[in-house]
Symmetry: C2
Subunit: 218 residues, 2 copies
Amino acid sequence: MKSDKKISTAVIQRLPRYYRYLGDLLDKDITRISSKELATRMGITASQIRQDLNNFGSFGQQGYGYNVALLYHEIRHILGLDKSYAMVLIGAGNFGQALVNYRGFAKRGYSFIALFDSSSDVIGKEIGGMSVMDTTLLPDFLSQNHVDIAVIALPGQAVGQFIDILAKSDVKGVWNFSGSDLTVPSNLTVENVRLADSLMTLSYKISKDEIIQRVTDA
Amino acid sequence: MKSDKKISTAVIQRLPRYYRYLGDLLDKDITRISSKELATRMGITASQIRQDLNNFGSFGQQGYGYNVALLYHEIRHILGLDKSYAMVLIGAGNFGQALVNYRGFAKRGYSFIALFDSSSDVIGKEIGGMSVMDTTLLPDFLSQNHVDIAVIALPGQAVGQFIDILAKSDVKGVWNFSGSDLTVPSNLTVENVRLADSLMTLSYKISKDEIIQRVTDA
DNA sequence: TAGATTGTTAATCGATTAACAATC
DNA sequence: TAGATTGTTAATCGATTAACAATC
């Protein structure tokens, strides 16, 4: 890491995309790539790529470009993907179950080690080889097991109580699927996934397009 | 709508959040709100709220502020939420099934009218009162039914073929859950949901926090 | 060496914030 | 009217793009 200067969220959010493209290049046995060529493939500017990467270090070589494997592993490291993460699921409804059953996360080092729900409908149910536990057991579980990330897949409202419990444990990250805004103490980091917002953004764009089309047609 | 000037994505992505907060205010029977008060609640600046809204019109009143119900309905309209949308699901795995079973979307006017999958494991299965159809039936279905949005919940790769089919129909929007970047013709609009990217962003922040903590501890 | 391409500084562009006249 | 708060213009800040010297 270059220095302690704050990296903007814009940059951070582009890192997974670089990582994905570099992974694809690796799969195609492409060993070197210039910022210009990568920029073309990604539909961004070469300047942006070089600026983004130089937040973290100098990974290229003048006159040559970047070594794909090297850069891939650097970004992998920057993103913290060379570690593994233990996760618990809070809210084992349809959505939570889908997350547990999705193999892609485990492949990247994220593994669910326990599932919790408050509803007797799902407590005791087997999902992904685990039995769903009562949320009343969560504090005990967290005190006896190391957990890095809590995945909250509850529909809205009653999320606050769990934040209190998590804040008292060694959980560091919360992946929040409950549409509401979570305020968390400073020892927790939240990443929000707002599916409803995303869908509304899509309908905005669709409605807008229709208007433009109408104007263009006229 | 004020004029045809391009609205930045930054603004568009804040609209659902305004909508959510205004909905909460309505539920609490709060009838008026100033940009300052709303800004405090949302943790942003009053200037930003006023600038954002003025992209679309003048909805407030000097010395008074904004009428909550009025502004709520204006944003609802801007987002296109006063219309209803017919959706089809392509990829009825765990994840797709969870989306179909989630009641929140229907509540906002988004309804699945058909489900498709290529795997004989799920074709014919009943989900949310619908029977999953073979994807080979998709072109016919689209030519005989009006569909606004296609929700793609396939794991990666084989998405391209469906884009071709959708582009030939009257589908306008694609809500894309397949981690890969979709290139679509101009008559389609894509909204990408990249869950894996979101999780990687979270682990970046967690790893970063640990480093800071270490530095602070020292 | 000559050509290519980086790392980095400088210029531009756009988005956010501040300020304030207009006005309810 | 006096106070409050908008709509909007101007100032600031930050992010993106362009340019180029350094160097492989």
